[in-house]
């Protein structure tokens, strides 16, 4: 059996399914709850300071509204955008969650953790980003 190649932070891209023209612009001032973000409670048009990205092109495509975009962790960091890896997300999402993954309902924390693993999800954190419009343009290219 051919096993899947392990994703490497130093060289492998992260993919994001989004609109054809541009990547959705996050709002640095929006609520920073990670569980709220992953669980997508507010649905379309919700305000979030995060952008979800996946190790898998095919998964990103499932969330696409017309295009799959890509970036690298080193590019993200060079623009002072925060990066929360999948392993960090998984470690934060236990019980009632820790840090920005703290959430009143532990079941919803657990569901979010399962999704993060199934989707190979990582987060880009724009809470400290001054100009999210130009920054998203700089860090993403079409895949």
């Amino acid at each position: 059996m051919i096993s899947k190649k392990k994703w490497k932070v130093s060289k492998d891209p992260l993919f994001r399914g989004d609109a054809k023209d541009a990547v959705n612009v996050p709002n640095p001032k929006a609520d920073g709850s990670i569980v709220r973000h992953v669980m997508y409670f507010e649905g379309p048009g919700r305000e979030t300071p995060y952008l979800s990205v996946s190790e898998e092109y095919d998964l990103a495509e499932k969330f696409s509204n017309g295009a799959v975009w890509q970036t690298l962790v080193k590019t993200v960091k060079a623009e002072s955008v925060g990066y929360i890896s999948q392993s960090e997300l998984l470690s934060l999402m236990k019980g009632n969650g820790k840090g920005m993954a703290k959430w009143p309902n532990p079941f919803e924390v657990m569901q979010a953790r399962r999704y993060v693993e199934q989707w190979g999800e990582h987060l880009l954190d724009f809470r400290e980003t001054k100009d999210p419009i130009s920054t998203t343009k700089k860090i993403f290219s079409k895949s």
């Binding site: 997508y40 379309p44 190790e55 499932k62 017309g66 236990k94 079941f107 569901q111 693993e117 199934q118």
Partner: protein, 283 residues
């Protein structure tokens, strides 16, 4: 796997996340869902949340999407290619035994009979359909001033298989996601057990509203999430046997179940006689 799409809705008994077949079926719109990961409607209720949270989220959701038809998430427009109401397609779908019951749910025989058929079928997909459609069945009964015991048998069937870990066959999976096949199978099995617990939480919630002792059981999904910090199925099964089952049995033993079932049956028979009375008078 968009969480506000038809795959994650109570009314689609054929799919949930990676579990299911290529198409879904909406028991409200009575349509085959050709692209259930990309469509939705204003009636959407999320499978992956408790009943109260699913209803809260649904209030936001219905502001974005029309309730009258199945629409594409991208633009809110109904496309004929996304759905099918064609009898030829439905007949083809009926060649799958679970799908046959799901397609005929509410059309042939009573809904509880269909749920009983699903309960008797082996396999994870049959349980998914029973739990998913069952949540809607009980919510509907209770919203019409029905008793929580309208879901009594459904509850008992789920209690009996509480600690059984469902086997996910390769053909039950729609995708492997970012994981390896065996891991996806485990995570899917986990998600189905959580749906089972969510279903029991729903019933306990309705029992609580009607002051039944079963309602004293604190949310099993929340307890499980606090007790288990990894997706290990063996640990989950042990927790279900040693922690969850005793709490349920302390409030609803087999003897009490039999007693409630008999009372419920007698009341229903009484209701049916009363409903039949005006017709008899006319004839």
């Amino acid at each position: 796997m968009k969480l506000h799409s038809c795959q994650n809705c109570w009314f689609n008994g054929l799919q949930y996340g990676a579990l299911g077949i290529a198409v879904g079926y909406c028991s409200r719109h009575k349509k085959i869902l050709n692209v259930a990961d990309g469509t939705s409607c204003g009636l959407h209720l999320r499978k992956d949340l408790s009943v109260s949270r699913a209803k809260e989220v649904s209030e936001i959701h219905k502001k974005h999407y029309n309730s009258d038809c199945v629409v594409r998430l991208l633009d809110g427009v109904c496309y004929e290619a996304d759905i099918s109401n064609n009898e030829k397609d439905k007949n083809h779908l009926r060649t799958d035994t679970v799908a046959e019951v799901v397609v005929d749910y509410g059309e042939i025989g009573s809904t509880i009979e269909s749920l009983a058929q699903l309960r008797a079928m082996p396999g994870a997909r049959a349980e998914l359909a029973m739990l998913s459609l069952g949540r809607g069945y009980i919510a509907n009964c209770v919203s019409r001033n029905g008793k929580w015991t309208s879901g009594l048998h459904l509850y008992w069937w789920s209690r009996r298989r509480l600690a059984e870990i469902p086997e996910i066959k390769v053909e039950d999976l729609r995708s492997v996601g970012a994981t390896q096949l065996s891991r996806q199978s485990d995570l899917t099995s986990w998600s189905l057990v959580m749906l089972r617990l969510t279903f029991i939480d729903d019933i306990a919630g309705y029992a609580s509203q009607q002051n039944d002792p079963l309602g004293k059981v604190h949310s099993l999904t929340e307890q499980a999430a606090l007790a288990l910090d990894s997706f290990n199925l063996r640990t989950l099964s042990k927790w279900l046997k040693t922690e969850a089952a005793p709490q349920l049995d302390a409030r609803l033993s087999h003897a009490r179940y039999a007693d409630l079932a008999n009372k419920f049956h007698t009341e229903r028979e009484g209701d049916e006689v009363q409903q039949a009375a005006p017709a008899d008078t006319y004839s």
